[in-house]
């Protein structure tokens, strides 16, 4: 590296998002990779450009939006909130009321996406501001319990407003992601069909993926800017010592309300996107497990950091799929010979009489693949918290510092 890249001579340079040349170059390359992924140009990453992986990447991107929101609330402002699923549900149902189809039993106004997507965020933010005063009244882990209560109250409400949510276990359809000007027949830009965009042939999953990449870039920029300006510093003050912050002039009520509002905006948009991406959702889907997933994402990724939230969401969404592929590969191995095959035979159980820790058939001993995912997920939380409290971001810091100081060990 030429010169001294960490010598900053102006405030702007110090607070910049990409302060050094290395970071600028790497970010450019990374964005180029992310955008051209569906075209499968880069060797080594071609498998990610296939449709089935683009769907998973799309889901990870939506989770990244939600995780960035929770990161602002829990990582930056220090308010422990297990109620993220509730705000996502509020956003999702606002989106479906404004954008969904009107039928005999369901409410929907059929408005275009540029209305329902921001509205989902705004309504969720308003609900977040209503919840915020309780965060001032109760602190710390008491707030965690209050937000758990919020999720259950929300679950009850969603299950009972049948003309909005469709009723328990039934659910309803969400409006698809597409651009219309105002309720026309033919969408201006549609993500539903395979077809050419600017001359390049893309599948519908690729189009949705690119749209989500754009959204994540916008939200990550917003998160980074919140973190490095006055608002972020106020949040950090509230997180570290809220009474001292109040004494210093950081109005506790105002900033906690703002933290909830911003976080719920992100959550509302993420909820609307999630429901629209999957097409339909039952009201029981906005449950405590979804909230815990987001807490796990920001803790695994690294609380308080933008990159951590995004890395965590990719990790948490892709690991189950990788485990599934691993199980499939192992079940192919059971037919062979050798030590690897006997290990595979021990771990997998293929029928009711075969012993195994993981079962590939519906009956018989062993965890199902879904249960294995859950156990792995819990194990990930436990392992990351015990061994690397700073999460994946901490792992990255260790790797980077090792190479920065190489060949010196410290």
């Amino acid at each position: 590296m030429r010169g001294r890249p960490l010598l900053f001579t102006t405030y702007q340079a110090d607070a910049a998002i990409l302060p050094t040349t290395t970071k600028k170059v790497l970010m450019f390359l990374f964005m180029a990779l992310a955008i051209t992924l569906p075209l499968q140009l880069v060797p080594g990453f071609r498998w990610l450009g296939q449709n089935e992986w683009l769907v998973i990447l799309g889901q990870a991107l939506i989770f990244a939006v939600g995780a960035l929101g929770l990161n602002i609330l829990t990582g930056l402002a220090g308010q422990v909130s297990l109620g993220h699923a509730f705000f996502m549900g509020v956003g999702g149902y606002t989106a479906v009321i404004l954008g969904g189809e009107q039928t005999t039993s369901l409410v929907g106004y059929g408005l275009p996406m540029w209305i329902w997507l921001p509205a989902a965020g705004i309504v969720a933010a308003l609900v977040g501001m209503l919840v915020a005063p309780t965060a001032v009244r109760v602190r710390g882990l008491y707030l965690a319990f209050v937000t758990i209560g919020l999720v259950f109250v929300g679950d009850h409400i969603f299950r009972n407003v049948r003309n909005v949510s469709g009723g328990p276990s039934i659910g309803r359809e969400w409006p698809p992601l597409e651009f219309r000007l105002w309720k026309e027949e033919q969408a201006l830009i549609s993500f539903e069909t395979d077809g050419p965009w600017l001359g390049i042939d893309l599948s519908s999953q690729a189009k949705k993926y690119l749209f989500l990449v754009l959204l994540v870039v916008i939200f990550a920029l917003a998160h980074k800017n919140i973190a490095r300006t006055r608002l972020g510093r106020a949040f950090a003050a509230v997180r570290d010592r809220d009474i001292a912050a109040e004494v210093m002039g950081v109005n506790e009520v105002r900033y906690k309300a703002l933290a909830f509002a911003v976080s719920s905006f992100f959550a509302g948009v993420a909820g609307a996107l999630l429901a629209s991406y999957f097409g339909s959702r039952i009201p029981e889907a906005w449950d405590l497990l979804l909230s815990v997933q987001f807490i796990a994402i920001i803790l695994i990724g690294g609380a308080g950091t933008t990159a951590g939230a995004i890395m965590g969401s990719f990790f948490v969404v892709m690991v189950p799929r990788l485990v599934q592929n691993l199980t499939r590969w192992m079940s192919d191995l059971t037919d062979g010979q050798g030590p690897l095959s006997s290990l595979a035979n021990f771990i997998l159980s293929t029928g009711p009489t075969d012993f195994g820790l993981v079962g590939t058939s519906a009956i018989g001993p062993g965890l199902s693949v879904f249960q294995l995912n859950l156990v792995l997920y819990g194990l990930l939380i436990v392992i990351f918290l015990i061994f690397e409290p700073l999460g994946l971001f901490g792992v990255w810091l260790r790797v980077r510092n090792y190479w920065k100081g190489w060949p010196f060990t410290y």
Partner: protein, 326 residues
Amino acid sequence: MNPGEVVAQTTTFTPIEQFLNALINGVALGAVYALLALGFVIIFKATQVVNFAHGALAAVGAFLVASFATVLNIPGRFMPSAPAWLRWSLSAVCALGAAALVGLLVERVFIRPMVGEPLFSVAIITIGADIIIRTINDDFVGQGARSLGDPWGINVVQLGNLRINQTQLVTVGVSIICFLLVAWFFRSRLGVAMRATAFDQEAAQAQGINVGRIFAIAWAIGATLAAVAGIFSSLAPRANGVSNTTAFVVFRAFPAVIIGGLDSVIGAVVAGFLVGIAEIVIATYTSSYANVVGVGFGSVVPYLLMLIFLLFRPYGLFGTQEIRRV
């Protein structure tokens, strides 16, 4: 009328009887909540850990009783001539011992490595532990409900127009015994050591108390109480056995913990009964207004109570006010 006969409810209640019926059901449910809240508060007071895995421990306890009483038949296979309730009770006691061991295991594996870490991280680790334990337990329990093999089943005691399930009487009786045992424990030497640890860990250590052992005992007691609560929440009339949803009863007991105060043992018991009675009574009286408050409003009542209580008393009824210094 024979005790085992199931008679369709054709009589309607007078208002007093309706209230008494709701009250009795509420007390039985409140006993379950009080047991869960008590176990939770003991763990919190002694080890400062918010244990989100309490539901999983309850489900594991219920499953252990189901195994000991039906499949393994220990110690029933050694005394085939003893009455059914004695055999089942001894099986349950053995299963409670096993549940205490599970609690010890959870403490050693998940909590011990996190000594010195911030409490938020430890709470999240208990969430991870909850997922792991609950999933493995669900795998053992399987789909559907696994009967606990209790000798009371759906038998009822008839008092005029009121029908009290025998299991409800056993629930209240056993929970009172448990509370008395816990009260006696806190007067014993070990209990005083635990109270000292809860008050100030460092000072207790300076006095020569083995704090690590106190942690283990606190978790064992907490897991045992959770197991007892798990047993009684899996019996009729609430459920017909331990299933995948047994663990979720603990989420309705968390409001009882908060209302009573996170660090108050008396508060946990009082608030547990309060929440249970309120839930059933309000559910009974709003069942005809389902189009306003929704179906199943009873299960939301604990949370609404918690939210209302927290507005007026943020530290619960009996919790210690937090004095915060800058």
